[in-house]
């Protein structure tokens, strides 16, 4: 049997299968059907990042046919959110993509505020930016740790999860929860930033760049790592756009695109940061993008902390009594506040009729939220544009002709979170 020629340089033009863009079908003229072996990966397989199922046609070691099957983690979030009031629905959003929980929460809250045309205080904007970037670091660390683990670099898993724990400690300090924080409220933040947060966050900001250097020392010049990632899982720039790829996938295919810079939201237009772009289009390029983004996110967090420290004592939530819960202490003295509190808790607030689409740059790419309101207290339609869902559409293109062992590296590099894919 011939050795699979698996390493290559980024191609131009298209390798998207036809007629079905997401299913690679084995060509019976090239390989006789009796030589093929059909293998089922997953849905319960340790290297599939959850419940991804791949049906693969193998010619020896080489992938000649592949289709991805999803839906094993479908939980009906969108349907459930339609039956809850607007502010109760926020609780569902972080659970969709369980690694970038705050991004989901953020996009839902931002979309709701767009419908309400609500101004939020600057302290809330900066804190949201700060937490969104900490969340990006958290998500990339899990990506790095599990991705390296699947290629045998077990030690890196422990290094990455060491720093991840520090991020989770910060979340716990601010919100009371380590994951699924539900800290963003329509109008601002649920609570003020606790005392002591800045000191702990600064410690983290000082530590993180050194930690990224450590990860790079383990991997970047490691021969095995380079052999297993360079020239693997190729995706050209044209194909990446055609397949709706976003975030690190696009930037690793040489497209200079980041919603934080190209369509600024929150406080990103006032922040100095670089967008890492690598032209390789392979797993190694995606790895480099993730590493650089962690460094940039740390810089952004530092800038947010500097600004936030000058805003102590400022309001953290908008003063709109029709939407925002009144301060707790007023409930004992003000009848008006008690009524507002009761109305918002029992009925929920109303959101004007309309439809909006809000997109943000989540750790995985363009995370979008499409909302329709009929003017009542509950959303009429909630739809999340899941970046992982789009990323998995590229499996057939990226894994075309790959060796079976490289499928694992490629699947990891697409960074799918199955909760996000299946919603």
């Amino acid at each position: 049997m011939s050795v699979v020629e698996r390493r290559g340089a980024i191609y131009s033009g298209t390798r998207i299968p036809s007629p079905i863009p997401t299913v690679l079908q084995a060509d019976p003229n090239e390989v006789p059907v009796e030589d093929l072996m059909r293998i089922n990966f997953g849905p319960n397989h340790p290297s599939t990042h959850g419940v991804l199922r791949l049906i693969v046609d193998l010619n020896g070691e080489q992938v000649v046919g592949i289709s991805a099957v999803i839906g094993y983690l479908h939980t009906g979030f969108e349907k459930s959110m339609e039956s809850k009031t607007w502010w109760k629905a926020i609780t569902y959003a972080p659970r969709i993509d369980y690694l970038s929980f705050q991004s989901n929460e953020l996009v839902f809250v931002l979309a709701t505020e767009k419908l309400l045309e609500l101004e939020i205080p600057r302290k809330a904007t900066w804190m949201r930016t700060c937490l969104a970037e900490l969340n990006r670091i958290h998500s990339h660390l899990v990506w790095l740790g599990t991705g390296a683990l699947e290629l045998g670099a077990i030690s890196l898993f422990w290094y990455a999860f060491r720093e991840r724990d520090l991020v989770l400690d910060l979340f716990e300090m601010v919100t009371g929860y380590r994951m699924h924080t539900r800290y963003f409220q329509v109008g601002g933040l649920a609570e003020d930033i606790p005392p002591g947060f800045y000191a702990e966050a600064w410690k983290f900001v000082e530590r993180m760049p050194k930690a990224v250097d450590e990860y790079e020392a383990v991997l970047t010049d490691n021969t095995i790592w380079r052999e297993r990632t360079e020239g693997i899982g190729l995706l050209s720039a044209d194909d990446a756009v055609a397949l709706g790829q976003s975030g690190p996938m696009l930037r690793a295919s040489g497209i200079d695109w980041d919603l934080r810079r190209n369509e600024p939201y929150l406080a990103y237009d006032q922040i100095d940061f670089e967008v890492p772009v690598y032209p390789g289009g392979d797993v190694f390029a995606r790895y480099k993008v993730h590493m650089d983004e962690m460094r940039e996110s740390t810089r952004i967090v530092a800038q947010c902390l500097e600004r936030l420290e000058g805003m102590q004592g400022e309001p953290w939530i908008a003063d709109d009594r029709k939407v925002v819960l009144p301060p707790r202490e007023e409930l004992h003295t003000s009848m008006e506040s008690l009524i507002h509190h009761f109305k918002i808790v029992t009925e929920g607030f109303r959101v004007p009729e309309g439809e909006v689409y809000q997109a943000i740059e989540s750790p995985r790419g363009e995370s979008g939220c499409y909302l329709v309101s009929d003017g009542g207290p509950r959303p009429w339609r909630v739809k999340f544009r899941a970046p992982s869902f789009a990323a998995l559409e590229a499996t057939a293109t990226c894994m075309r002709g790959a060796a079976v062992a490289d499928m694992i590296a490629i699947a990891a590099s697409l960074d799918p979170v199955m909760g996000d894919v299946d919603r």
Binding site: I16, P19, I20, P21, T22, V23, I70, G71, H74, G76, E78, K79, S80, S83, T85, K114, L115, E117, V241, A242, L243, G244, S246, I255, W257, N262, E263, T346, E347, G348, R350, E353, G354, E355, V356, Y357, A359, E366, G368, Y370, V372, D374, G375, G376, P377, R378, W380, R381, K383, R385, F389, A390, L392, E393, D422, R423
Partner: protein
């Protein structure tokens, strides 16, 4: 307006800073090809249908709503401040396009269909539509015409019904492997 040349354009709306182009379902592919090639919308960010069954049927809240108005027995179901505008048909299918360039723009293309009316597939325009269209069929039952692989994607292949439709109740799904023996 910038989008006058779009084939089959019925209406242009500007709300919350977002442009919505309503086009005829029959000329959807022409409109999409025009938007991609002439206007530069090279990226399909999202494709999603919405079911408007029962839209605006809740009563109106407050003192003006009496008959069919506020239902005190159902907390959380209080009526609208005003009745929402009626919709032309039961389903809207929304295509969120993005111009991925140094000067990004977004636009929403919208088509309206009734139950069972087909919508042409835009896979040939943006390959990423593949799974999004399968999801639209699976969740809402929008028949996508010309899709090469229109199967369920999130639910099981033999599932009955389309869960995101408004007449599909929460808790109404069949419980599997529960029949009495």
């Amino acid at each position: 307006m910038a989008f006058e040349g779009v084939p089959g354009l019925v209406e242009t709306r500007l709300e919350h800073g977002e442009t919505t182009l309503v086009v005829e379902a029959a000329r959807l592919v022409d409109a999409c090809v025009h938007l991609r090639d002439e206007e530069g919308f090279n990226f399909l960010a999202d494709l999603t249908p919405t079911d408007y069954l029962g839209w605006g049927r809740h009563g109106v809240a407050g003192y003006i709503g009496t008959a069919g108005g506020r239902d005190l027995n159902q907390p959380g179901s209080q009526g609208y401040a005003k009745r929402p505008d009626p919709k032309p048909k039961r389903f809207s299918v929304n295509y969120h396009l993005l111009e991925l360039s140094a000067t990004p723009r977004r636009v929403r293309v919208q088509v309206w269909v009734d139950d069972g009316e087909p919508v042409p597939s835009v896979i040939t325009v943006w390959p990423t539509a593949d799974w999004h269209e399968r999801e639209a069929w699976d969740m809402m039952g929008i028949p996508i015409e010309g899709h090469p692989n229109l199967r369920r994607i999130l639910m099981d292949d033999d599932w009955e019904g389309h869960p995101l439709r408004k007449d599909y109740p929460i808790g109404g799904e069949p419980v599997r492997f529960s029949e009495e023996r």
